[in-house]
């Protein structure tokens, strides 16, 4: 369905020692598409997400981003990573820097922007995620939901072509999940290409163009959310959905 592929994974395999965590993964993400990856723990969905900006290396297969194969190491890889925003489960805000400095740092160091130019952009992005008033605080002074929104602003500051979300709400208190999801919904509406690993089925239903269901290192289903949630094909997906949708 993807007419204009931005991310392509072809026959990707990864092992942790004996453990075959990614098995012949094929996945295409089109420009502007929102792909939600769900699946049980240990199914390899986080690993999949992390291979896209090469935080995890792969043993075989090809990954291309905007037509370019992923570079190995060094400057080329750094340049590519700047084009791929990433949001982590544990936020990973720089603990020794203020919120504004967190958002500005890579703009200055990687994009070569002037400090006041970067700070201005940081201010705008912090406003956008509703945290304009907290710019001078340190990450430890913010709630989890606020930290995660700062992390999203920090990734957006690089003007990435695609955003990767690795379980962005899994470490949050229930009442903070929504504030993060709302920011992500807004991003999706603005046409950002997103790959989201999550357990938030509500988000998958409402924001995703496609749902990718993974189990045991394989892509088991890759369909529209409507199809997937109302009429899962595989036993594995039926089983998974029956367990999580009951509550």
């Amino acid at each position: 369905m993807a007419v204009d592929p931005l991310i392509e994974l072809r026959d990707v395999n990864k092992y942790y020692g004996e453990l075959h965590v990614l098995q012949d993964i094929n996945l295409t993400v089109g420009r502007g598409e929102v792909v939600v990856v769900i699946g049980p723990s240990g199914s390899g969905k986080s690993t999949l997400c992390r291979t896209i900006n090469r935080l995890e290396t792969i043993q075989s297969g090809h990954i291309t981003l905007d037509g370019q194969p992923l570079p190995a190491e060094g400057k080329e890889l750094a340049r590519l990573r700047a084009e791929v925003g990433m949001v982590f489960q544990s936020f990973n805000l720089f603990a020794h820097k203020t919120v504004r400095q967190n958002v500005s740092l890579a703009q200055i160091k990687v994009r070569g922007r002037k400090k006041d130019e970067a700070d201005k952009r940081s201010g705008e992005l912090l406003e956008r995620v509703g945290l304009g008033a907290h710019a001078e605080k340190y990450p430890a002074q913010l709630s989890g939901g606020q930290q995660q929104r700062v992390a999203i602003a920090r990734a957006l500051a690089m003007d990435p072509k695609v955003m990767l979300f690795d379980e962005p709400t899994s470490a949050l208190d229930p009442e903070m999940i929504n504030e993060v999801l709302e920011v992500m919904q807004q991003l999706a509406r603005d046409g950002m290409t997103m790959v989201v690993v999550t357990h938030e089925m509500g988000f998958a239903r409402s924001a995703a163009n496609r749902v990718v269901f993974m189990a045991d290192g394989k892509v088991v289903e890759d369909r529209t959310p409507e199809d997937f949630f109302t009429n899962p094909e595989s036993e594995r997906a039926k089983d998974f959905l029956s367990k999580i949708l009951k509550h």
Binding site: A78, G85, M86, L93, F94, A95, H96, L105, V110
Partner: protein, 214 residues
């Protein structure tokens, strides 16, 4: 008691000699320790090997042996420098191995996610280390680095055996002049205390200023 007042200039020279050795060797040790710690966590394998060999060799060599190797060995290869410079080299390189390991343990206290976040934003290894990892590692390595520099100050006494002017070596002169050995050493010990307590004070201040907040 009058051993100090009679020989103030001898003590002074020795004291300044030790201060000089300590300051220059400390600077060398900090710079080299920093470089070697970067090597040991570098993504390039040969750098890591070099750092590991550096630490293993220097940390496991008795300092006196290292002094012999540098002061008597290097001139054989045509490198002739004043003994004081040799002593600074030996002390600095030796201590750099310990500083390197202290820094590396500090780097390991910084959660892995910090480096991953920096790299995922497109920052290079050097930028990640200098802007994100080391500033946070720095907070937790202040106490062990202080200990290493205090050890360095005391280790500098070995240089006296190689006719470099320093504090401990003054006892030979004073002993020949017939002064009480006890009082001679009391004043020498006091000299070392002044130096080591100063280092302690500096590092206590740094810890208060930049240490990990609890």
């Amino acid at each position: 008691m009058n051993v100090l007042t009679d020989n103030f200039s001898t003590y002074g020279k020795g004291f300044l000699g030790t201060v000089e050795l300590t300051v220059y060797a400390s600077l060398l040790a900090l710079v080299l320790g920093f470089v070697m710690a970067s090597f040991r966590v570098a993504p390039v394998g040969s750098f890591r090997v070099f750092g590991t060999v550096w630490v293993t060799v220097l940390r496991n060599t008795p300092l006196t042996l290292l002094f012999f190797a540098v002061l008597l060995g290097l001139p054989r290869f045509g490198l002739v420098l004043p003994f004081k410079v040799f002593a600074i080299l030996a002390l600095g390189c030796y201590t750099s191995a310990f500083i390197c390991e202290a820094l590396r343990s500090g780097i390991n206290t910084v959660p892995k996610g910090q480096g991953e976040a920096a790299r995922s934003l497109g920052m290079s290894f050097g930028q990640t280390l200098n802007n994100v990892v080391l500033p946070q590692a720095f907070r937790s390595v202040i106490p062990p680095v202080g200990s290493n520099l205090i050890a360095l100050a005391k280790n500098s006494a070995i240089a006296g055996a190689f006719s470099v002017t320093e504090l401990l070596g003054t006892y030979k002169t004073l002993n020949e002049l017939g002064y009480s050995i006890i009082w001679t050493f009391v004043w020498i010990a006091l000299g070392y205390l002044i130096i080591t307590l100063t280092i302690s004070a500096v590092f206590n201040f740094m810890e208060k200023r930049w240490g990990v907040a609890r």
